[in-house]
């Protein structure tokens, strides 16, 4: 275990994580060790005491009904919520043992290690080439720029479609191509983790399949956390699945983590009644 020994594990919510389906998985490394993470927007609690480990080279899916804080949660993992002035985070997000919200941590540095792909494809209004090269140049990765751009586009399964028109605008691509361009842009800066916030929700089924195939390939090199409201998608792409729900007890409406386990377990033998209701379609 790459986990920090200083972190007391005894106070965690007892989450049963099945170790059966992956041989050798008992030695899997933890990339994110999220401890009792809560987020307030102003005085409103949005997500409450989320505790979840995210494993290296795994695809971890976050599913749940709308408004249960999945996106809010995943945006805590690269400090994207810092852009919201009223957002306040408590608890810890240990990234390879270091608290991302520690006093000396610069969010800009965090995002160089933890890339993100957003719900709506958002290429820069620049050429396809510059969409990828822009970040590289600023981050000082200027050597072999052409190679880096090509490798990123190849990894994102977009190279063959765009190699003859690298100078044309990224916005001229189709929605699915734009999203793969955004994935290429995230890959290019050589992150350790890629966060995906409903990356296929704005795409047609064929584009969605391509993105899902891509996720399968990318997990060889990266750790992937993906938010999706599409349960089939989670079942197809994810090794681990976390089910979020909205806790409306005590007069509050906050997102909570209900269950976290191997994806097959979540979909076939969920431990919690709420998870079962959701994955069987009785609710949500």
């Amino acid at each position: 275990m790459d986990d920090t020994p200083s972190t007391p594990r005894s106070d965690l919510k007892p989450i049963q994580i099945s170790e059966r389906t992956r041989p050798g998985s008992s030695t899997r490394d933890i990339v994110f060790d999220v401890q009792k993470l809560s987020l307030h927007y102003g005085s409103t609690l949005a997500i409450s005491e989320i505790t979840v480990p995210i494993y290296k080279n795994h695809v971890t899916a976050f599913i749940g009904p709308s408004g249960c804080g999945k996106s809010t949660f995943i945006r805590c993992l690269n400090r994207m919520n810092d852009l919201v002035p009223i957002a306040r985070v408590t608890g810890q997000v240990l990234y390879h043992g270091q608290d991302l919200y520690g006093p000396t941590v610069d969010p800009v540095q965090v995002r160089r290690h933890i890339g993100m792909v957003f719900q709506k494809p958002n290429p820069f209004p620049k050429s396809i080439y510059d969409n990828i090269a822009w970040g590289l140049k600023i981050l000082g990765k200027k050597d072999n720029l052409d190679d880096r751009v090509e490798q990123a586009l190849r990894k994102a399964a977009l190279w063959d479609e765009v190699k003859d028109r690298l100078k044309s605008s990224g916005l001229a691509l189709s929605g699915g191509q734009q999203q793969r361009l955004c994935i290429a842009r995230a890959i290019a800066i050589e992150p350790d983790v890629i966060l995906m916030d409903e990356p296929a929700s704005a795409l047609d089924p064929i584009s969605t399949t391509r993105i899902e195939d891509l996720i399968h390939e990318l997990k060889q090199d990266y750790t992937i956390a993906i938010v999706t409201h599409n349960m089939q998608q989670a079942a197809r792409v994810a090794d681990m699945t976390a089910f979020f729900s909205l806790d409306v007890s005590e007069g509050r409406r906050a997102g909570v983590l209900v269950e976290y386990d191997e994806t097959t377990t979540i979909f076939t033998r969920p431990a919690d009644k709420r998870t079962e209701d959701y994955v069987t379609g009785r609710f949500g």
Partner: protein
């Protein structure tokens, strides 16, 4: 019942859409509203056509090669000779320098308020800019006169400073509006690749909104190119020579129109009208140019909320009303 049309089902079934008196009145009021508002729209167009038409009719006689290339002749025997080249050059120099001063400051103010300032502070700055925008240009003129002209004498650069004070709130406010049009998703995309905020602003936000910023700048240029009051204080006592030396007063088109219109010489009146044509032509040109720039920006941000953008642009043009000076 006899006035009602009979239904297909027979005379006993009342038709659903029968015409009663209330409906008739509603129709008349509707027609009336439509007519009155159409008339008002026609009036606005007519005012512009009349204005441009009369200026062109009276000024066209002054238009010849010499008008654009020569300075005032000063020849009493040939009062129609000579031109206003010195005023054209003077106006160009003063407005160019004013633009060079106002654009960087105005754009930086806008970047501060929309990217870095806390919302309360941004609100205060915005209010200050609106107040500054509402200050009559004669007041700005006398302020700059007291500040820079007294004890030093007139100079073209002082006129540029005065004009830049007028341009500053226009450019800052229009740039602010345009910066808010850059979608949040684009900012997130930039920050998501791990760049600092200022890099995001310079590398993504500014290029994406460049067309809109240029729109504001060109409208501000059009606005100050015709400003007269501040220039009367700062650059009106000028020799009739083509010069680009900003340390002396330079002749300008608006001041030339003002002085020539009071001249006893009818040929000077024609030159004043000719200068007016130039100013109108310049405003027309910048208006068309700014529309082209704005639509270019819209195309670049294709996919971002388009309808909203159009609405904002219309609102933006409202900033450029001319306060009576």
């Amino acid at each position: 019942m006899s006035t009602l049309p009979t239904s297909a089902n027979g005379p006993d079934v009342p038709p659903i859409f029968h015409v009663d008196r209330r409906l008739k009145r509603r129709k008349i009021v509707n027609r009336l509203m439509e007519g009155v508002s159409t008339l008002a729209a026609l009036l606005a167009v007519a005012v512009l056509v009349l204005l441009v038409g009369s200026v062109v009719v009276r000024g066209a006689s002054a238009f010849n090669g010499a008008f654009f290339t020569q300075v005032a002749s000063g020849d009493f025997l040939n009062p129609a000779g000579g031109g206003i080249a010195h005023a054209i050059v003077g106006s160009a120099v003063i407005v160019l320098l004013a633009t060079l001063i106002a654009v960087p400051v105005g754009v930086l103010v806008a970047i501060y308020t929309s990217e870095f300032a806390r919302p309360q502070v941004a609100g205060i700055v915005r209010l200050c800019l609106d107040v500054l925008n509402g200050i009559p240009s004669i007041v700005i003129g006398i302020f700059i006169f007291g500040l820079l002209v007294v004890g030093r004498g007139q100079a073209a650069w002082i006129a540029s400073v005065a004009l830049s004070v007028i341009m500053l709130p226009l450019i800052a406010r229009s740039t602010q509006e345009v910066l808010t049009l850059v979608p949040l998703t684009l900012r997130e995309a930039a920050l998501g690749v791990g760049v600092a905020k200022w890099r995001m602003v310079i590398g993504i936000v500014i290029p994406a909104s460049l067309g809109g910023i240029m729109t504001g700048v060109s409208l501000a240029i059009a606005r100050v190119a015709g400003e007269t009051a501040p220039i009367l204080f700062t650059s009106s006592i000028a020799v009739n020579q083509i010069s680009t030396d900003v340390s002396h007063a330079l002749q300008t088109i608006p001041v030339l129109i003002f002085t020539y219109s009071e001249s006893p010489e009818p040929a000077d009146h024609a030159k004043a009208w000719g200068g007016a044509i130039l100013l109108i032509g310049f405003v027309l040109f910048t208006s068309v140019l700014s529309r082209m720039l704005m639509s270019r920006m819209k195309r670049r941000l294709e996919g971002g909320a388009r309808g909203e953008l159009l609405g904002r642009v219309t609102g933006l043009l409202g900033l450029f009303r001319r306060p009576s000076a």
